[in-house]
């Protein structure tokens, strides 16, 4: 626990009993929503990586006399590799094409006689690939090419993940803002009751900085105690959530957070303490400014 030195034992007044509770609740909220946003963020980026990778371009065999198959495959590979958002493009060997077509025709058809299309596997990174534009260019430049984006799921799902992530971070920002406002109001309400003490210390000749420091320390102490409790509570709640929506439930979202993300969570109580202290300081100084 944080041990703070007090010149005056101001931290024992009744207003102080309220601040740790509100701070604790708000830190709990802040940590929970931050963890939630980080989990969704991680899930969204792993989805879009997994999904955004699998487009296929088919180069169909054309009637004799038109540009040869190999020629057009090379053109397509060149075009794909210079398209922004494409991380890799690779023509599949003929055996893979045969394997892919076989179910459509039954295993009894003699495949080697048929003019099979060549398949090009395209790996895209995330959502930066503009599929519609790529399709246009392929249609225009390489006759007989067909872009298959697998029912468009990849783009849609990864965009959805990004939207969820955006919403989650938006909600987090609002919750964090609200939590900090609540702490600020709690500190201000507490100081309102201590207004007479502020005035008394002023009349007794304490300097503005001394008075502000007393109340600031008291607020920081109360907020940090509440914040710590809120953090502990939130961590426990996160573990509980992990048990419920854990990997054994087979869901694609993992609640485990990497260590760096956990460090972000530590910031929440620190921010609460900082804002509590800052609010106390500014409120006291504003009260004092009105005194002669």
């Amino acid at each position: 626990m944080l041990k703070i030195h007090y010149d005056l034992p101001l931290h024992r007044d009744s207003a102080s009993r309220f601040l740790p509770w509100i701070t604790g609740l708000m830190v709990f909220l802040g940590v929970m929503s931050l963890a939630f946003a980080l989990v969704l963020g991680n899930a969204a980026s792993s989805w879009s990586q997994a999904l955004g990778s699998s487009l296929t371009v088919q180069i169909l065999p054309l009637a004799p006399g038109k540009p040869g198959q190999d020629e057009r495959v090379r053109q397509a590979l060149d075009l794909l590799r210079e398209t922004p958002g494409v991380s890799a493009a690779r023509a599949l060997p003929k055996s893979e094409s045969e394997k892919l077509v076989s179910p459509w025709l039954g295993s009894n058809a003699s495949l080697s006689d048929l003019p099979l299309p060549t398949l090009v596997d395209v790996r895209a990174d995330g959502t930066s690939l503009n599929v519609a534009l790529l399709r246009q260019r392929l249609d225009a430049e390489i006759p007989g090419s067909v872009l298959d984006d697998h029912g468009n799921w990849l783009g849609e799902v990864s965009r959805a993940a990004v939207t969820v992530q955006t919403l989650a971070f938006g909600a987090l920002a609002l919750i964090a803002l609200t939590a900090i406002l609540a702490v600020i109001f709690a500190v201000r309400a507490g100081l309102q009751l201590n207004r007479s003490t502020v005035e008394l210390l002023h009349i007794m000749g304490a300097s503005d900085r001394y008075i502000a420091r007393q109340f600031q320390r008291s607020a920081a102490g109360n907020a940090s105690r509440g914040g710590l409790a809120g953090l502990v509570l939130a961590v426990l709640a996160l573990f509980a959530a992990q048990r419920i929506v854990g990997p054994q439930s087979g869901l694609p979202i993992r609640l485990a957070l990497p260590l760096t993300d956990c460090l972000w969570l530590l910031l929440v109580p620190l921010a609460a303490t900082f804002f509590a202290a800052l609010t106390a300081r500014l409120t006291v100084l504003a009260t004092l400014k009105r005194l002669p």
């Binding site: 010149d7 005056l8 034992p9 024992r12 007044d13 009744s14 007479s196 003490t197 005035e199 008394l200 210390l201 002023h202 009349i203 007794m204 000749g205 304490a206 300097s207 503005d208 001394y210 005194l291 002669p292």
Partner: protein
């Protein structure tokens, strides 16, 4: 020590509570401040302990025009003034000892000296058994004595007391006034606002009388009406 030059005072935009107050108090003097209820005694004291600015006129304290002083200078001045408030203004969640120790803590005194010094004074005013009590658990007269102890603990140059004997009997009242006289002998300038005519008669000091916003000086023993 204290000089008022045609000083006026009002609260917010209300009527003038004090009008055209002019007087001078010598260092080491001892005055009673009297006047009917609502005449402005507490208001005049508020000007003296620098909790309120005059709306007009010139206030000189410790030979300094207070309107010309910076905030840090005003703070230093305030530490030389002891105040007994009419409504005590004790900090409810601090013990009697901590309440009285406040001026010493602000002056940066050493903790071991504080405890010894404070408990001695509290014993003297009859509160030796209540060092650790909180003000809300004290009787009215006990609270008043804590307020007085806090005002005198660091031997202020100027002592302002607002109705300091309203909640104690004559015996304790007399004892407290002896305490003030003792301080006065050591050089403290003293102004005591009071309604207690019996005390004023017993202790022969000049009197400042407020009525209708104006101040009259009366010699020791004289009656205002």
């Amino acid at each position: 020590m204290i000089r008022f030059d045609s000083v006026g005072m009002r609260y917010g935009s209300g009527p003038e509570v004090l009008r055209d107050i002019t007087f001078e108090l010598a260092p080491g003097s001892f005055h009673f401040l009297t006047g009917p209820s609502g005449a402005g005694k507490s208001s005049l004291l508020r000007l003296l302990y620098l909790a309120h600015r005059p709306s007009r006129g010139l206030v000189t304290l410790f030979d300094k025009d207070i309107s010309s002083l910076s905030r840090p200078e005003l703070s230093l001045l305030r530490r030389r003034i002891g105040v007994v408030f009419q409504d005590f203004r004790l900090i409810d969640h601090l013990s009697t000892l901590d309440n009285v120790a406040l001026p010493l803590r602000l002056a940066g005194a050493r903790e071991d000296q504080i405890r010894e010094h404070v408990s001695e004074l509290l014993r003297w005013v009859g509160l030796g058994d209540h060092l650790e009590a909180r003000p809300p658990t004290l009787s009215g007269g006990q609270q008043q004595r804590v307020a007085i102890a806090r005002a005198v603990i660091n031997r202020p140059s100027l002592l302002l007391a607002d109705e300091p004997t309203g909640n104690v009997d004559d015996r304790i009242g007399t004892r407290l006034l002896h305490l003030f006289e003792e301080l006065n002998r050591l050089g403290t300038t003293i102004v005591i606002a009071t309604h207690n005519e019996a005390l004023i008669e017993r202790f022969n000091h000049p009197r400042l009388h407020l009525q209708g916003g104006h101040l009259d000086r009366l010699p020791p023993g004289a009656k205002p009406y």
